[in-house]
């Protein structure tokens, strides 16, 4: 490796690299009526706050339509937020002009789920990986080619494949190309938007291991967006759970799985089938009833209350605050008391 090696995680431990504060993204939706229909707001992301420390992986999980991908895209300013703020390395992104934003973009990269859609079908692998280097005019043609060869080796691709086109690769290999492109300009932070969801199980493990290796070697910080809870637990240091545009719980990975506090987190974790028939037979899933409401018509109070098996009157009326119970443990639920345990369990309500 000539150019991609960098010292791991400079700066003090627990330094906050990314801070998201009450981020919201609403889309203008229209009602079904042909004329003069009321424009309803689709509240895709609704006041999301979290921090990501340098060198760590924050997992962002939730079911389809919960707003996790929109959160990632808005964080990267691929979409303009409706409100809220994002700080990257202490800089508030909305204060930046075009050129400064471009310089910040250099440090934040993204890998998407659909590896085929993420690659231009008419660009060779080499040209694809070199694109960010060309954008920032980093090096002569020869230097760029050497760097591309390095990057391809780094992600486990044969540099001789640089002249091949995306359709000549398998899904896992294409995702490696996407990762190589994201790494080209030595970013600090990568948003991984469902990077393994479309891959086969045996290939998923390859990509997850690659991402973990790269993080260790290059001191990268990840936001790992996914719906596969087992994988998220494996790769993440901390996990944030989203439901209907809100984060309902944030915790250390193990704590979240061992003692989920929010009723939605509990249902989500209990719904994951286990790859072990004996344990699987004893698993009792909390089956949620009903469907996720439309983000264009949010229920009042706690957005989860219509499906919550534990909901009480208060949940229908008041939006629960997103509070820190124990250090690093945030929950938005009326039923969790100040000690971080369940009122329902304790009092048998």
């Amino acid at each position: 490796m000539t150019t991609t090696e960098r010292p791991a995680a400079p700066g003090p431990a627990n330094e906050v690299l990314v801070r998201v504060d009450r981020l919201a993204k609403h889309y203008r939706g229209r009602s079904g009526r042909l004329f003069g229909g009321d424009a309803t707001d689709i509240q895709a992301v609704n006041g999301v706050s979290f921090e990501i420390h340098r060198g760590e992986t924050l997992g962002l999980v939730g079911e389809s339509g919960c707003g996790k991908s929109t959160t990632g895209r808005t964080l990267l300013r691929l979409e303009e937020p409706t409100s809220g703020a994002v700080w990257f390395d202490g800089i508030e992104l909305s204060t930046l002009d075009g050129e400064s934003m471009r310089m910040i973009r250099k440090r934040m990269q993204v890998v998407f789920q659909d590896s085929a859609d993420s690659l231009n079908p008419r660009m060779s692998t080499g040209r694809t990986i070199a694109e960010p280097l060309h954008i920032y005019e980093m090096g002569t043609d020869a230097e760029i080619k050497a760097k591309v060869a390095d990057l391809m080796s780094l992600v486990g691709l044969n540099p001789e494949w640089a002249k091949r086109f995306p359709h000549e690769f398998s899904g896992g290999q294409r995702q490696r190309i996407n990762i190589a492109r994201a790494l080209a300009i030595d970013p600090d932070f990568i948003v991984l938007d469902e990077p393994i969801s479309a891959l086969d199980v045996s290939i998923q493990a390859q990509v997850i291991n690659l991402l973990a290796d790269l993080q260790e070697r290059l001191g990268l910080t990840y936001l790992f967006i996914a719906h596969d809870l087992a994988m998220v637990r494996h790769i993440s240091d901390r996990i944030a759970v989203m439901y209907l545009g809100r984060i309902v719980e944030t915790a250390d990975s193990n704590a979240l799985f061992e003692e989920p506090l929010h009723p939605y987190t509990q249902a989500l974790i209990s719904a994951v089938p286990l790859a072990d028939p004996k344990k699987e037979r004893t698993r009792i899933p909390i089956v949620l009833h009903g469907e996720v409401p439309s983000p264009g018509k949010l229920p009042p109070g706690c957005v989860f209350h219509p499906r919550c098996p534990q909901a009480v009157e208060l949940c229908r009326e008041e939006v629960p605050e997103f509070r820190e119970f124990t250090p690093g443990r945030f929950v938005a639920c009326h039923l969790v008391d100040e000690f971080g345990s369940h009122i329902v369990e304790r009092t048998g309500l």
């Binding site: 490796m1 691929l78 008419r122 040209r127 050497a146 640089a162 995306p166 359709h167």
Partner: protein
């Protein structure tokens, strides 16, 4: 992993002529179309070299000569001569120039206008998009044959007018296709990735949008060329296109029509064949291009 700096080959810029060549060999119909279209273009470009006679030269001594395969025909005039003794083969060869000019420049103008409007509509969106698309619909809703007749009678008969008119009236199709593709492409992952990297608009356009527009637009252009050549022949036939002193397949057909049943059938049969063959070849080529450029088929092969 190697320690020494390596150099790599990024390959060709597009997906390779050799691959296209391989693909066309698999499809005989496409190959026939390609060969015929190439033949047409070569004929048009090298008409002066290829034509055995001056297409305008009259020779009353050789008038009404039948084609070579009929009784009394000769190799001097392989496809016979008309009532004024002009060589039919030479006139068809020169007539290809009119057809190719109309098809090529008409499509070029349509693509240019359509691309421009489609890009703006697709990229800017909002009210401007709505306005432009309404304009496009308006142009599409005008019965253009009437416009042609009006233009021909007011501005006179000229190839330039026909080409401009065809270019403008076909441009909405290209505008719509471009807009649709742009709307699709701007949501594509690779465009998002380029934006996330900080690529500027010209770079996104040049690297990601344009190369992916080539396929659909080229396919559409092939079909439109074929249509324009047909329509031009029709307008010539009606006497609304090129002036009569320029040989075109349409006006040959028109002048031959009167003698179709009076012993000179070759005067209309041969230009008619030329028109039919051109249309067929372009449609074969267009079908083949649509097949190989269709992203779904491409993916299935990948």
């Amino acid at each position: 992993m190697t320690a020494e700096p390596q150099t790599v080959d990024f390959g060709t810029r597009s997906r390779g002529v050799s691959r296209l060549f391989r693909l066309i060999l698999r499809d005989p119909a496409g190959l026939v179309g390609l060969i015929l279209v190439l033949g047409l273009v070569i004929t048009a470009v090298f008409a002066p070299q290829l034509a055995p006679h001056d297409p305008l030269a009259q020779s009353l001594t050789n008038a009404k000569a039948p084609p070579v395969f009929s009784d009394g025909g000769s190799w001097d005039y392989p496809l016979g001569t008309d009532r004024l003794g002009r060589d039919v083969l030479s006139r068809i060869i020169y007539g290809a120039r009119v057809s190719v000019t109309v098809g090529f420049f008409g499509a070029a103008i349509a693509v240019t206008i359509g691309l421009f409007i489609g890009l703006i509509a697709g990229f800017v969106g909002g009210k401007l998009d709505k306005a432009l698309m309404s304009l496009v619909d308006l142009v599409l809703s005008v019965p253009y044959l009437i416009v042609v007749i009006v233009v021909a009678s007011v501005l006179g008969r000229s190839l330039f007018n026909v080409v401009m008119l065809f270019g403008v009236t076909a441009s909405p199709l290209f505008a719509r296709t471009t807009r649709g593709e742009v709307l699709r492409l701007r949501e594509a992952g690779f465009v998002s990735a380029a934006r996330a990297t900080g690529a500027k608009l010209p770079s996104i356009l040049g690297r990601h949008i344009f190369p992916n527009l080539v396929g659909p637009l080229l396919t559409l252009a092939t079909f439109e060329m074929s249509a324009m050549i047909f329509y031009e022949a029709g307008l010539s036939f009606l006497g609304l296109s090129v002036p009569p002193n320029i040989p075109s397949w349409g006006n040959m057909l028109d002048s031959g029509r009167r003698s179709l049943f009076t012993g000179l059938p070759w005067l209309s049969i041969f230009p008619g064949l030329a028109i039919a063959l051109t249309g067929l070849s372009m449609n074969l080529l267009g079908d083949w291009m649509r097949d190989i450029l269709d992203p779904r088929i491409r993916r299935a092969r990948g």
